[in-house]
Every structure is written in structure tokens, then in C-alpha cells.
């Protein structure tokens, strides 16, 4: 262990890593602070750059960028009442009302510190839970992995907001995309229409850029926009009084850190879900629930801690099982495969220095958030004044060139375009986009493990239910599939139980 830790520290000491983390911090803070641009888009646009980096450097860039972006989403929430990312939406009203009451500095200081504490709590849980789960997962076979993939897909549908039918169709679309190319049993080309470029399947990176980059450009250029009215903030004062707030709400911080991390570990649920859940729990147990939404610090503390705690939690299923915790870790899994690193329990045996370095990066990124957060608040007024009519075409060019750069191929730009058009139609009609990428990532896991299991047992389906762990996962998956029926059953039960 000491040897691995030493190797991890050596990896982290590389000046290139520090340079990349610095740039990723600035990039994450900028994207997070720009209303309308999300951390997922930032990750998709970062991926072409990670293609040219060492695996750890690329992962460090994503971890740092992600942490900074989720925090920075709090800045416009407080200053212009628009969340920079969906993760800050839960407590936007409270942050803005506090800022209007002259507490802009305090609320931003609390945002920085609670985000950092939440992020570090998540990182600690990641270290402990991932290692413990990996020891269990090492005994998993294709049967268990099939059920895990199926569970990941169904959980994505159930925990998402909106229509279950539309989420399911979005997942099916992603799963269908994953079937394009040579199949794993016979190497038979499926749905390639004679194209050699499609033999290896839909190229993941251009697809991600189309799904998350182009879609955000489209969303922004089609939405009316007027200049923001920015609440003034004195950045020098942001840490004044923060200790008192943190001390007062220390149990809230612990509780929300735990909630955020747990939500992160669930496949398919991201930082926005964590923030809303922490907000709900906070209101339920608050002594002053009537103050929520009117400029109260308690929900800012709770939800602000939970969304950053969730980020490391999302990496637990991604690293241990190769099952993404959210859209960002779905992209990360794609990056890992691209770099020849196969996520799963074996990396806990074979790539310990990489893992330890990753854990340290999570902690370091959250510590760096404090000085960088200070600088972001200092630059917030300037960032919010950046012309969108210049920024959006600029992002479009980064999308195009990023998609092209992976294989120097215009075909990949075409893939990005098609995905952009699909997402445009999906979003305009209430279909969520994240399930598409989860379907794309989980499709090969589900199909490959099912086919391998079937071939090795000569099509004996009972094996999926007779192995103890597989049976537990099967029950969980089936219970999740039946989730839409529970409210109906509950209503019927309540009706029959009530006196006539």
C-alpha cells in the first residue's frame, strides 16, 4: 500500500498535472458560472483534450473541472437568480434573497466552504466504499454484471424527473446506438449500412459532444436572453462570518454530505437530484421550514453540501462496476476505455497508484476550491458580462474541432451533428438526454454479459436467479422495474382498507 501511495504522490507531483488542474479549475469555474452551460457539457468538451493526455492527467482534469463547475453554479444563483448549473437550482431563491438582503458575500462564502466540505466528505466515502465494494465485486461473474447493468438502466429511469415512458424510450435509443457495429458473438456488422466508419460502433466522444455540447449551444441560441442585473459583491468579505454558519449547521452538513454521497452511489442520479433531496430533508427537519425559499441559509448549507458530495459518490459504481453514477461518469467510463483502462474491481488490484492518485485529486481539488472560489467571486461580474453572441459560436467551434480531432475525421463531425439534431428534438419534446448516454455506455455491458452467460451455460436462464448475489440483484432490478405499479397498488390498498 505504501508503495502504491508513494507512486500516487509521484503521479500527482507531476508539474503537467498541476498545470492541467489549474486550467481545468479556471475552465470549470467559468462554465459553471455561465447560466445555461452545464458541467456535463464542460466534460464532453474536455474529453477531446484528455485524448492527448496520460490517463491520470485526463481524469484529474475532469475531477477538478467538475468540482469547480458545480460550486461555480452557485455564483449566478446568488447574484442574478439563475443557477449556473442545474445542481444549484434547489437553493437559488434562498441564495438570491440572501444576496438581496446584503448577504451576498456571506452566502457565496458559505457556498465555497460547504462545497469544499461536501466534496471532501464524498471523497472519503469514495475511498472507503469503493475499496470495500471492490472486494465484493471481485467475485462477480457475467451473471452479476448483467443484473448490475440492468439495474443501472432501470434506476436511471426511476430516479429521473419526468415521464418514465419518455426516459425509457431515451434509454432504448441509447441502447440501440450501442448495437451499431460489429456484434460480440460473431463479429457480424449490425446497422452499419455498409459504412466502414460504423464497424467499430458509434464513436463515443463525438456522440457525447453532440449530446451535451451541441444541445447546449442550441438551447442557448434559441432562448431569449437579456443582460443580467448583477448584485454587487465585495469579494474580500466572502469568508467573514462563514465559520459561524458552518458551526451552527454542522449536523446539517454531515447529514447532507451523507445524502449527497449516497445519491451519487445510486446509478443514474446526479448532483441535481442530491441537492433537491437534501433540500427536502432539510426542510422536513428544520425548525424554521416556513423560511425556506425566502432567503434562508439552512437550505443553502444543506443542498450546497450535498451536490458537491454527490460528485465523488458518482465515481463509486463507475470505478467498481463500470456502471456510471451519472452522465459525467458515463463520459468518464468512455474515457477510461479509450485509455485502455477497464473500470471494474480488477483496477483495485492492478492500478492502485492510479486510484490513490485519483482519491488524492478529489481531496486536492476540493481544497483548491477555496482559493479558486475566492477568485471566481472576484471575477464573477466580468464573467457574467461575457457576450453570449461571441461565447456560443466559440463553443460551437470547439465542439466541431473536438469531434474532428479524435480521428481526424469529418464522419465524426457528422455523428456529432446527428446527435445534436436528435437531442434538439428530444429536449423540445420533454425527453431527457442523460438516459441516452447511459444506454450507450451500459448497452455493451448488458449485452456482452448476457450473451457470455448464455453461451457458457448453454442457454440455461435459471443461472441468472440461482447464484446468491445474482438473485439479490435480480430481485432489486425487478422491484425497480415494477416501481410505476406501486402507487397504483398503494391507492387500491388504501381504498379497500378505508371504511365505505
Amino acid at each position: 500500500m505504501a508503495e502504491s501511495l508513494w507512486a500516487a504522490l509521484w503521479m500527482l507531483a507531476n508539474p503537467t498535472v498541476w498545470g492541467v488542474m489549474f486550467l481545468a479549475s479556471v475552465y470549470g469555474l467559468f462554465v459553471g458560472a455561465m447560466p445555461g452551460l452545464t458541467a456535463t457539457m464542460a466534460t464532453a468538451l474536455l474529453v477531446p483534450f484528455t485524448f492527448f493526455m496520460e490517463p491520470f492527467t485526463g481524469l484529474a482534469a475532469i475531477v477538478t473541472m467538475e468540482a469547480m463547475a458545480i460550486f461555480a453554479g452557485d455564483i449566478p444563483a446568488a447574484l442574478v437568480r439563475i443557477p449556473g448549473t442545474p445542481s444549484s437550482a434547489a437553493y437559488t431563491d434562498d441564495s438570491y434573497q440572501l444576496a438581496k438582503k446584503g448577504k451576498a458575500e456571506l452566502v457565496l462564502g458559505v457556498d465555497v466552504i460547504c462545497s469544499a466540505i461536501g466534496g471532501i466528505m464524498g471523497a472519503v466515502v469514495l475511498m472507503v466504499a469503493a475499496t470495500a465494494l471492490a472486494e465484493v465485486a471481485i467475485h462477480f461473474t457475467s451473471f452479476e454484471y448483467f443484473w448490475l447493468g440492468a439495474l443501472g438502466l432501470s434506476a436511471t429511469t426511476m430516479v429521473g424527473t419526468g415521464s418514465i415512458v419518455k426516459s425509457a424510450l431515451a434509454i432504448l435509443f441509447g441502447l440501440f446506438l450501442s448495437t451499431i457495429g460489429l456484434d460480440i458473438t460473431l463479429g457480424y456488422p449490425r446497422f452499419t449500412f455498409g459504412s466502414t466508419e460504423l464497424l467499430n460502433g458509434v464513436n463515443f466522444i463525438p456522440a457525447m459532444i453532440g449530446l451535451f455540447g451541441i444541445s447546449e449551444v442550441i438551447r442557448n441560441v434559441t432562448a431569449p436572453h437579456r443582460p443580467f442585473e448583477i448584485t454587487q459583491v465585495n469579494h474580500r468579505q466572502i469568508f467573514r462570518g462563514v465559520w459561524g454558519v458552518v458551526s451552527k449547521y454542522r449536523w446539517n452538513i454531515l447529514r447532507s454530505g451523507a445524502i449527497g454521497t449516497f445519491i451519487g452511489i445510486l446509478p443514474g442520479a446526479g448532483a441535481d437530484v442530491a441537492a433537491w433531496l437534501a433540500y427536502g430533508v432539510s426542510k422536513r427537519f428544520s425548525k424554521t421550514p416556513e423560511e425556506f425559499g425566502k432567503g434562508h441559509m439552512e437550505p443553502v448549507v444543506d443542498a450546497g453540501t450535498a451536490n458537491n458530495a454527490c460528485l465523488a459518490g458518482d465515481w463509486v459504481p463507475a470505478l467498481v462496476f463500470g456502471i456510471p453514477g451519472d452522465a459525467i461518469t458515463a463520459i468518464v467510463i468512455g474515457v477510461l476505455f479509450m485509455k485502455g483502462v477497464r473500470p471494474g474491481p480488477l483496477i483495485f488490484e492492478q492500478q492502485r497508484p492510479l486510484l490513490y492518485a485519483l482519491y488524492l485529486t478529489f481531496i486536492l481539488a476540493n481544497i483548491l476550491m477555496i482559493p479558486f472560489g475566492y477568485l471566481a467571486v472576484w471575477a464573477s461580474a466580468k464573467m457574467l458580462k461575457v457576450s453570449r453572441s461571441i461565447l456560443l459560436p466559440g463553443i460551437l467551434i470547439f465542439c466541431i474541432v473536438g469531434a474532428y480531432a479524435i480521428n481526424n475525421s469529418f464522419f465524426d463531425v457528422g455523428v456529432m451533428l446527428v446527435m445534436g439534431v436528435v437531442v434538439f428534438l428530444f429536449e423540445a419534446n420533454g425527453f431527457p438526454v442523460a438516459p441516452v448516454v447511459l444506454g450507450l455506455v451500459l448497452g455493451p455491458i448488458v449485452e456482452q454479459n448476457f450473451m457470455v452467460s448464455m453461451i457458457k451455460t448453454r442457454w440455461d436462464l435459471t443461472q441468472f436467479f440461482t447464484r446468491p448475489t445474482a438473485a439479490i440483484l435480480a430481485v432489486l432490478a425487478i422491484l425497480t422495474w415494477l416501481a410505476p405499479v406501486y402507487p397504483i397498488l398503494f391507492r387500491r390498498f388504501a381504498r379497500s382498507a378505508s371504511p365505505a
Partner: protein, 155 residues
């Protein structure tokens, strides 16, 4: 670009049926066991099933409003649609024109056109377009050594 749920559902039903039909010619494994066709066929059946689930309530007007997601953009104005189409057109122009004309000229023209259309004054747009193009060229073309198309310019 709001499309009636019934039409979208029908689209998924047709797509699912088409996927299923196209897999009928896929080879089977030894002994006649299902092979490459199995997974797409399962997806196709589910797609048809969920497509029907979207069509039926939409047609019968029984859609559960409380659980339906509000569309992100329930109705784009004509300006919004034009902007979206321009973004798609810009990507197509890049794919078609840049191999012959080159990255620098094509990108500058696309950026200038889009920035101006979105409301940036033309001189500012020209300066920003040229600067941004050069920045992207240096990052990708020089630092990351991506062979961006040179076209009419040879450096």
C-alpha cells in the same frame, strides 16, 4: 419544434418494427441459438411497447399531466428555430467547405456569420472571429498536432 406525443410514439413504434424486421436476416449461433439479432430484437419489442404507451394516452387524451415532464422548450419562436437551423448549417458548411478552403478561412467565416447574426457588431465580431479561430488553431493544430485542413492556406 414541439411534436405531438402521439406522432413521436408512432415514430418509435415504426422504428422498433423496422429494427426488428432488419434483424431477421442476421445469422444465428451454432445449433440455431440466437446471436447478433437477440439484443436488437429485445430492444425493438420494448421500443414498440413503450411507443404504444406514448401513443395511447396521447390519442385518448388521458395523459397524466402531473407526472409528465414539461418540455424544456415548449414552443420555439421562428427566430429560435432559425438560430437552431443556422447552428446545424454551420456544422454542415464546416464539413463540406473546410477540406477545400481550409480550417482558418472556413472557421473565421462561420464564427463571423454566427456572431453577427446573434447580435455582435460586425467589427467586434470580425475581431473576435479571427482571434478565436487563431486560438483554436494554435491549441489543436500546433499544441495537440491535429492535422486541421489547410485548404487554400498552406501554413
Amino acid at each position: 419544434m414541439r411534436i405531438h406525443d402521439g406522432i413521436i410514439g408512432a415514430g418509435f413504434v415504426v422504428t422498433g418494427a423496422a429494427i426488428f424486421a432488419s434483424t431477421l436476416g442476421f445469422p444465428r449461433l451454432e445449433g440455431g441459438a440466437p446471436g447478433p439479432a437477440l439484443f436488437p430484437q429485445v430492444l425493438a419489442v420494448l421500443m414498440v411497447g413503450f411507443g404504444v404507451c406514448l401513443v395511447v394516452p396521447a390519442v385518448s387524451g388521458l395523459r397524466r399531466k402531473s407526472t409528465e415532464a414539461a418540455p424544456t422548450d415548449p414552443g420555439l419562436g421562428s427566430g429560435g428555430i432559425v438560430n437552431a437551423l443556422l447552428v446545424f448549417a454551420a456544422i454542415i458548411v464546416f464539413m463540406l467547405v473546410s477540406p477545400a478552403v481550409g480550417f482558418l478561412l472556413t472557421t473565421t467565416a462561420i464564427l463571423l456569420g454566427l456572431m453577427w447574426w446573434l447580435g455582435t457588431p460586425v467589427v467586434r465580431a470580425a475581431l473576435a472571429a479571427a482571434g478565436l479561430t487563431l486560438f483554436v488553431y494554435v491549441i489543436f493544430g500546433k499544441v495537440l498536432r491535429v492535422p486541421l485542413p489547410l485548404g487554400l492556406l498552406w501554413f
